[in-house]
Symmetry: none
Subunit: 188 residues, 4 copies
DNA sequence: GATGAATGAGGCTTCATTCAT
DNA sequence: CATGAATGAAGCCTCATTCAT
């Protein structure tokens, strides 16, 4: 029941927004009453927090595996990171969009936690880039902070338009982007 | 007065969100009464629509100049586009974020107009990329649609973190991104 | 201009009701601004009062002529009264309906005036009936109060449905009603 | 609770009018909060509709019994109809006045339903009159439509002034009116 | 005479939340 | 576990009215 409520909320929060979705909407979606909602959640905000924690937790655990895979070099790890993000669109897109869009609606305490984890994720990606620089994969004079943010921009933005069921698969899109990031679009 | 109301709303919508900002908040921000608000706007939605139309109108007019500047080649036009976007952060960041985040809250009719114009902007950028391919600037086998979306991802994402007053200027950031997009980060 | 405002209000008050008609509606109807309205009337209520006074004044003056016409007997005077009311539908219907329906919205002081005049009108009709009884035109044991109210019911009710442009003219309707009131519908 | 809300509204709508009565007034009347009102009614209009449907439903069901009573002739049925209406003043006066006065405030769809039922009621009374003509009770050349409207005028108008607790009882008033309608007031 | 700007009060409605059962 | 009833705060919007020009 709790999971059903969470799933319903994720759907509705993504579609209409957190504030625009009422507890009634959520309960109605799975045919229970508001009372039931409050049996499982202390408040609407607590539910939002759960969604956020779950999403960022998932992201960090996935990232953990990528970073600690000693069999892959920096380029591969960058590839794996972008692929992980784009691949997640299939079942995490809604959570991701809620994550980015509804941060504001978290209580300040949770917001801070949230931002820390988000920064951690980004810093970890930056770590991959810096490793690549150190190991001579990437150019020496990169502004790794800006580059990392650019790479994440490419990947994150795809949450707003990419259709995993369309002509281009997630693997293909990852390859297109990695090729651009690594080698650029200039004619050689 | 109308402009003061618009400015106050842009500030508040960006900070707290459209739904989370009450007409009272807006009126209070500039020390007038709600009645005054409704003297200038038929509804809160109409104000949001005005903000959207103004922003996308600005974007398209800037793009127009870039596209029609015959003295610049495709690479330059791409540079100009990215620079225009990043440079606009200084005074259009809030509008831009509202534009992307509060689309949902537009009436369906305006939403459609909005999406059309947004698509037009993207297609125009894609036009620059395709021109570059045709003229031999860029690689022949580019998936121009995906690449364009990637480029816009890099630029748009910066609206969420870039601080024009920080260490890196808008010109520098544009150069960093154009270098990545054109030549990649791989060590040559 | 004042008369144009009055005419527009009568139309709108009848159509939508006093409270449901805004000063804006009235001003808009004749393409002036609210300010203009307040140049001619101290308040919306004052306008309503004017409409009421005008209507009841008209009624009483018409009644005055009927009562004082010494050439007509009680039956004729009753006929003239009913005819006057039904005939007035053509150009006074709206005022009349406002008169009956919007009394509540008058300030208490005007309401009282209003009811007094209304009662006076009714008492005058009752006077005609009583004269008829005294003079032997009408039955002796009539409850003249109730009968008068019944007669007025017949006439007043027609304001809600009678169409002077329809098959039955105001003269004909008056005759039909007078015949019923005087002789009944029973087969003789 | 729902019934208490309805009763309170009927009282207030009659006294002050639908538009002039706020939901706050209704809730306050029975010492609950506005929230409670909206727990039971989707809107103020829905409540008005309920009142209308209830009233006209009552009227039609009463009429049904009268029409189908084969033991009564046309004169009796006319009597029963007028008595039913006047007798209902005691506990339906307010509903009735709301019914006639607040039609405008119904949503168009309900308004239409309403008018149909109202017309049906009138047509049914007209049926009684026509039956009387056919059976030789009433005069042959009656304009049954106009006469019916006149009879209803007499009865309906009494809702605006008749006091069932006064000197004249509802039975007596009915007799007075039936006598006038059937035999007229002329001295024989 | 007429207008446009501004106000403030009040109305309808939604909604997160609580609580007894 | 789950419900139904009730609350109270807050939000959007309308409107009569005032006033300086």
């Amino acid at each position: 029941m709790k999971q059903k409520l969470i799933d319903a909320s994720i759907h509705l929060f993504d579609e209409k927004g957190f504030t625009e979705t009422s507890v009634q909407d959520i309960a109605g979606e799975i045919k229970v009453t508001k009372g039931t909602f409050y049996y499982y959640f202390k408040s609407k905000q607590e539910l939002l927090r759960d969604i956020h924690l779950n999403y960022i937790g998932y992201l960090l655990s996935q990232q953990d595996e990528i970073i600690n895979d000693t069999s892959r070099d920096s380029r591969n790890k960058l590839h794996d990171t972008v692929f992980m993000l784009i691949h997640s669109i299939r079942n995490r897109r809604k959570s991701a969009r809620i994550f980015f869009r509804e941060m504001r609606n978290l209580a300040p305490e949770y917001l801070e936690q949230n931002m820390e984890k988000r920064d951690l994720f980004r810093k970890n990606v930056q770590g991959i880039v810096e490793e690549g620089v150190r190991k001579g994969c990437f150019q020496e004079d990169l502004n790794t902070d800006m580059i990392t943010r650019g790479i994440l921009g490419v990947a994150n933005w795809s949450y707003y338009w990419f259709n995993p069921e369309g002509d281009v698969s997630d693997e293909e899109l990852t390859n297109i982007y990695l090729e651009m990031i690594l080698n650029g679009i200039n004619k050689k």
